[in-house]
């Protein structure tokens, strides 16, 4: 994240850098902490309630015990998600007051509705968590349904705002003021929004599934292979293994939409300096802005034209289509993109291997190497998640509202932002330590089914 922010500084004039530097890093830190918690908030409840349902259906105490323990982990992570989310909503005003002041009436509705969605989620999570053995099993499982639904609607609203920032519509800008504002159209009639929503929602399941699988895979390597652990491994892993290959197809769709609506971002993703027919894809290498091309990469001729437009000889717009000050920092965006795609591909392969073993041999894989790969897959899925956000958000730079407002125009004029940033680092570091402590404690604690 620091590297990202530092690289961004190169594109800004010195006068703007002082607050912008701290504000960007603070925002990046806040997102990096919050997004994985969001993944657990959207994807974990369905796994917990599935374990509970299966436990009731089969009468197996192991599964009820598992659901019970997962509930406690879920609520601890939800509580931390509530507070990191609150910080994010504060930062909308604390860091980017000019963005909110100018465009709040256009995009704000999405967050207002998200607030309600979050409200319902918090209410029912309270009932689900404290209702174990106090509500009837049927009623208890019913209280989980709003949690699952609001996990989706919450993502829907937040991504709607992000989709609008990337492909703004529903207003006109006259001087510094927006007129003819149509908030519903701005947020929900946006062709750029759907791929982002599906891509992020799936990412939630992939990250949650692989992180949990990594934990139980580590247990498997240490000899914990009982019925309880097998169930705890199989439920999240099966979901993640199915979602990971689907994510590749969805990612391809996302890239075609980026090619259509944000050609400059696509050019940065691929390091395409000059507009050309039959554009190639490069794997690895380094974008040389002097030569306007990728050097030392593995070149696949015409692949980009085909992937983006389904035509080997299609013309793809390069970075030279816009002025240098309107281009994002290419190497940051490009490496974030390659990291995401690379890890995503590995996760999909791992998932397909697991599915083949499951369906063909009707058992869990037995190779030690599979479990070692799983232990790596958890943290890697998190890295891919963050890399994906860097790709889309840094790829949008230098704009906060694509084509309308630069990030440098949005930032606060308040000087003590750097002190706030330092304080936030300390507090979040303490929270991280606390979360690790509580998760270890909850994992070991005795829970009665």
């Amino acid at each position: 994240m620091l590297a990202v922010a530092n690289d961004l500084l190169a594109v800004l004039s010195p006068g703007e850098q002082e607050h912008l530097d701290s504000a960007r890093q603070m925002q990046a830190l806040s997102f990096t902490v919050h997004i994985p918690l969001v993944c657990f908030g959207t994807a974990f409840p369905i796994m917990v309630v599935f374990a509970e349902w299966l436990g009731h259906r089969t009468g197996d105490e192991h599964l009820r015990l598992l659901a019970r323990r997962w509930t406690r982990i879920m609520v601890a992570l939800f509580a931390v998600g509530v507070i990191t989310g609150t910080i994010l909503s504060f930062e909308m005003g604390l860091l980017w007051p000019a963005f909110t002041a100018t465009f709040g009436s256009v995009f704000g509705l999405g967050f207002a509705i998200e607030g309600f969605s979050f409200f319902v989620e918090a209410i029912f999570i309270g009932m689900y968590v404290y209702g174990w053995n106090r509500l009837s099993p049927r009623l208890h499982m019913l209280t989980a349904i709003p949690i699952i639904l609001t996990g989706f609607t919450g993502s829907f609203m937040v991504i709607a705002v992000n989709g609008w920032m990337n492909h703004p519509s529903g207003f006109r800008l006259v001087g510094d003021h927006v007129v003819a504002v149509h908030p519903w159209r701005a947020l929900f009639d946006n062709p750029y929004f759907w791929h982002e929503l599906v891509h992020m929602y799936l990412a939630g399941y992939i990250v949650t599934g692989f992180v949990l699988a990594a934990v139980y895979g580590f247990g498997w390597l240490r000899g914990r292979r009982g019925r309880y652990e097998r169930a705890a491994l199989a439920i999240p892993l099966t979901i993640a293994a199915l979602a990971a290959p689907v994510q590749i197809l969805v990612g391809d769709w996302a890239a075609r939409d980026v090619a259509k609506y944000q050609p400059t971002k696509l050019a940065a993703l691929e390091g395409l300096g000059r507009t050309q027919k039959g554009a190639p894809v490069h794997i690895a290498g380094w974008y040389d802005s002097g030569r306007e091309e990728v050097r030392y990469g593995i070149r696949i001729p015409k692949a980009l034209s085909f992937l983006a437009f389904h035509d080997f000889n299609a013309t793809v717009r390069g970075l030279d289509a816009v002025a240098p000050e309107d281009r994002p920092p290419v190497n940051v965006v490009r490496y974030a993109f390659q990291t995401m795609v690379g890890i995503g591909t590995l996760l999909a392969l791992l998932g397909v291997f697991y599915l083949v073993v499951r369906v063909r041999f009707r058992r869990l894989p037995e190779s030690v190497w599979f479990y070692r790969a799983l232990v790596l897959a958890g943290p890697l899925s998190f890295v891919a998640l963050i890399a994906g956000w860097v790709t889309t958000e840094v790829g949008r730079q230098p704009w906060v509202v694509y084509g309308y407002m630069r990030t440098a125009q949005a930032v606060t004029g308040a000087a003590p932002i750097r002190w706030g940033y330092a304080a936030l680092i300390i507090v979040y570091a303490s929270v991280a330590v606390a979360v690790v402590w509580i998760l270890r404690r909850l994992a070991r604690s005795e829970v009665s089914a």
Binding site: T58, S89, F90, G126, M127, S136, R138, I235, W253, S445
Partner: protein, 429 residues
């Protein structure tokens, strides 16, 4: 009253809900840390935690509601307030982080020693957050937040006589509400001795809050005369009177040990202060910026109103259910989640015999259906380019995940097998 005022009413209602619902949550932490040591104080701390734990997240969302409605409906005012008062708001935000983290941590705290330390950390934050938010309101009320990006003084906008007294009132009112609410909760949970303990605290903090409120009028007279004038002779006067009467009435009810009505009159006393401030301050939101000038355009205001009404239709019944279950004691007992021993089998459904999730033949069929869904999804999403085709493709791919899940999940999951029935209960993470 016009369209431009309606979202402000939502904001005030949200603020009142936040003050009267989340305020006691912060106040409870103050009583937790001042409880002292020993068996008795441990019970007191546990009650304060257990009474708040199921509802704190929901109570907390009111603040997010206020922020989102504010920046959508009055974006210029929000940008000006957030940038000038950034220090106070940031302190409030950090306090919320620590308070929330304390809730998460306490559920896993093993021994008393750990709990005491967690409570101490959370009490510090619980004083900071109401104080900082109160101080920020004091800055707005005393006209120290001009329109513009960080146009006001970053320090004196929230460290000034009005801010200090509003911050102090916020802390005292939170502690007072908490003590009144917990007196009532202790009765419901059959702990009359704790109810007496909180009764003493309610009386003490109620008197302090009343004195601070009276002192606040003196400070306003010198520092924010416009608000003072509005409160004692303008539109705010009825609210001021209601607040004073409700405050005195609550003390009387607490003396008489009538805690349930006291709960509502205490809330009314605090809510009336917020209403009084709003009435005294209108029509100006910030100096030179009236509510009408700050309001977003017509379409946005209507969108907010529709969203809030629709959201309210979903949230309020849910909230009513949560509070009903909580107040009835269904959701809380002497211990937090997970510590509760399993209830007798009478409440559990009759356990069916072991049966497989899906039988082998069905599982094979499901696998083929899943592959078919994947192929359809690939065709519509990846090969075709039309929007409607993408929609079909996404649905097919999600069908692949759902069907594939039942096809690939171990079939014996949850079915007791003879060779494994002797294995120990799960001890791993």
């Amino acid at each position: 009253m016009t369209l431009a005022d309606v979202p402000m009413l939502f904001i005030l209602a949200g603020l009142i809900a936040y003050v009267t619902l989340a305020g006691p949550d912060f106040g409870a932490a103050v009583w937790q840390v001042t409880a002292g040591r020993g068996k008795e104080s441990e019970r007191l701390r546990d009650l304060a935690h257990d009474a708040m734990a199921p509802v704190w997240e929901a109570n907390h969302v009111w603040l997010i509601f206020v922020l989102t409605v504010m920046w959508t409906s009055y974006p210029t005012a929000f940008g000006s307030i957030a940038s000038t008062l950034c220090v106070a708001l940031f302190i409030a935000g950090l306090g919320i982080v620590v308070r929330g983290a304390a809730y998460a941590l306490r559920s896993g705290a093993g021994d008393l020693h750990e709990q005491v330390r967690i409570d101490a950390a959370s009490a510090v934050s619980s004083i900071l957050t109401p104080f900082a938010l109160g101080a920020a309101i004091g800055g707005v009320a005393s006209g120290r937040v001009p329109v513009g990006n960080a146009a006001g003084d970053l320090i004196t906008s929230w460290i000034n006589p009005t801010s200090l007294i509003t911050g102090a009132i916020a802390v005292a009112a939170s502690a007072y509400l908490a003590a009144v609410f917990l007196s009532a909760d202790a009765i419901r949970l059959d702990q009359p001795d704790l109810s007496e303990a909180f009764r003493r605290r309610a009386l003490g903090s109620g008197v302090v809050a009343g004195i601070l409120a009276a002192a606040g009028l003196v400070v306003l007279h010198d520092d924010a005369y416009r608000i003072y004038h509005g409160l004692v002779s303008g539109d705010g006067l009825p609210a001021l009177i209601v607040s004073a009467l409700a405050g005195v009435g609550t003390l009387a009810l607490v003396v008489l040990r009538r805690y349930e009505p006291a709960r509502y009159s205490a809330g009314l006393a605090v809510a009336a202060i917020v209403v009084g401030w709003a009435l005294a301050q209108k029509p100006e939101l910030l100096p030179g910026l009236t509510v009408h000038q700050a309001a977003a355009s017509h379409d946005t205001l209507w969108a907010v109103i529709i969203a809030v009404i629709a959201g309210g239709l979903i949230v309020f019944p849910s909230l009513a259910l949560l509070f009903r279950l909580t107040l009835l004691g269904t959701l809380r007992g002497a211990h937090g989640p997970g510590h509760v021993a399993a209830e007798p089998a009478a409440t559990a459904p009759p356990r069916p015999g072991p049966r497989a999730l899906v039988d082998a033949a069905t599982q094979g069929l499901l696998a083929r259906v899943a592959v078919a869904c994947l192929v359809v999804g690939f065709g519509f999403l990846s090969v075709l380019d039309a929007g409607w085709a993408h929609a079909i493709g996404v649905v097919a791919l999600f069908a692949f995940i759902v069907v594939g899940f039942f096809a690939a999940l171990p079939r014996d999951l949850g079915v007791e097998r003879p060779e494994s029935s002797t294995e120990a209960q799960g001890s791993g993470p």
